[in-house]
Symmetry: C3
Subunit: 235 residues, 3 copies
């Protein structure tokens, strides 16, 4: 983010995945929580992850998420922090899975989802904690649009190149003026705090163990169909 | 609402109708207005009906409306106050019919509709005062989704059971954090005051009489196609 | 606007175009900028164009845009300031083209678009600066609904007559209560200032020359497919 912010020429940044079959999924729950909480606050005064996401929304360049695979937790949160997002109709999945395991999400979806799809549909996504298909994501406004997989790269390349041919001052000022509709930083901060407090509670700790026993954190069915496995956890 | 709020175990509440052919329709306009206005204020400081609706939106449990029939006036308002709503494609109808009779709606739709579908489409619903089909309601975000009637109960049962299997603290904290996008109570209060002031004016009083003469308040065509009859009132 | 505001009987105003093939397009860029900036502020304290648009949103009557042709720049801005908008499926096009030429839009779309379609899709419209079809405009909530061209006039006439048969006090009070979701005037004011500052910069001045050389401001391909020509400007 520091590098991008320092680049006065940057107009458009496209985020896609180098990992076949995934956009970006959840955090590493084998890591020590102290390794996460020890990262210094960013320049916004927010903790590292929400700091990066908030700076992305305020940056004078344009960010586009190109999604070809599950966007779970962090992957959904960076999608929502990007200015635009386009998805593969066949391969993209969206999920804020945190409540399903007993946690609160930390990267701002309680603040951002209601502002794109209304509070009710946002609660369906957040509290249902299920995998959302690209078609439903498009209908709800979770993602801008989905395209047949073969057409996705061409569309994003064309839109990114088009915007990059325009004047940076016009881009930056126009984006700045839409930013009045962003949530306040304190709202993002409070979401992060609720997330960190939730992780250590007994319910998620028990659920993590059960998920790890079934194959969580490894390529395979639990990661591919996390929503299904969350629904079985406490039955 | 007192009972629900006091129930520390409650995670999900589903509202459906015990009356075949209706979800919930408008108030009883044969009742004395004093019987309504004499109900004490609720704990929020709002009058009884908006008090219940506002508390529903802030409650630590999840509320789901299951709609199989017309949701007119109060029925639409409780739908909008629920966290989620799902409707029968064939049987649901939505209506804020009040302007059509010369009133202002009292249970918050001027505050809630713009926040789910934008101010313009909200004005179309409110000022058009017509019956909105389930398909259009879904397209506008008035309801989350509509399903073929035979699939509706199964979907809602599955979603409600799923959420009820999750941790209450995670549910309550996640919901609390989306509540920053709720309207302020004073906005709901002002809507209620405008409603009460409007009821006694000559135009709605004249229109009520005309509607009663045609069969208003009884099972039949006026209640089933209220939008149609409102459009004929002053022609 | 003065005339309309003074008309105590006016309930519904429909804006359509007297020019076959267009709704309303952009400003006259052959005019002197001083002729624009010399127009006195309106009663809201805003400059003339944003003043008219803001008063339209606050007026006690209902405004409906009927769109049969491109709505570019000013045409899009008046559409967004109207309470409702309906479009011809075959003939309507929507465009905030300003960033494509190196300008910032001046009539409030940075404030209004995010409130109807979310900030992200609003940025796609604003920064992509491309022609948006009626179908996509409907899916994004840019316009309320589109209809086959042959059905458009009938639908709008029916809705406008229906609302005009209702009580003005009920209409005006209901509209007033949805206006809490309007952007603040200062947000519109800042957009206008950014627009005026942007026009004189070298990039748009160079681009205007290039567009005029290709046929800008005359009936023909540049005006009909402005999005296409903007994409070629700096390649």
């Amino acid at each position: 983010m520091n590098t991008l912010e320092a680049d006065e020429e940057a107009k458009v940044v496209v985020f896609d995945s180098a990992v076949e079959g995934f956009f970006l999924n959840h955090s590493d729950f084998n890591a020590k929580i102290e390794d996460l909480t020890a990262i210094p606050q960013g320049p916004t005064g927010l903790e590292a992850w929400p700091d990066v996401l908030v700076r992305l929304t305020r940056a004078p360049f344009v960010s586009i998420a190109l999604i070809r695979g599950p966007a779970t937790g962090n992957g959904s949160e960076i999608t929502l922090a990007c200015d635009m997002s386009f998805a593969s109709k066949e391969k993209a999945l969206f999920s804020q899975w945190e409540v399903g395991v007993g946690m609160v999400a930390g990267g701002g979806p309680m603040a951002r989802l209601p502002r794109v799809m209304g509070r009710g549909r946002a609660l369906e996504v957040l509290l249902g904690s299920d995998d959302i298909t690209a078609d439903l994501a498009q209908a709800y406004g979770y993602v801008h649009r989905c395209f047949p997989d073969a057409e996705l790269d061409g569309f994003v390349e064309s839109l990114a190149s088009r915007i990059a041919s325009f004047d940076k001052s016009a881009i930056a000022n126009t984006k700045r003026l839409t930013n009045t509709t962003l949530p306040e930083d304190v709202e993002i901060a409070e979401g992060w705090d609720a997330c960190i407090k939730s992780i250590g509670r007994p319910v998620p700790q028990k659920n993590f163990k059960a998920l790890f026993a079934e194959g969580f954190h490894k390529p395979g069915d639990v990661e591919n169909r996390l929503g299904y496995y969350l629904g079985r956890l406490n039955r």
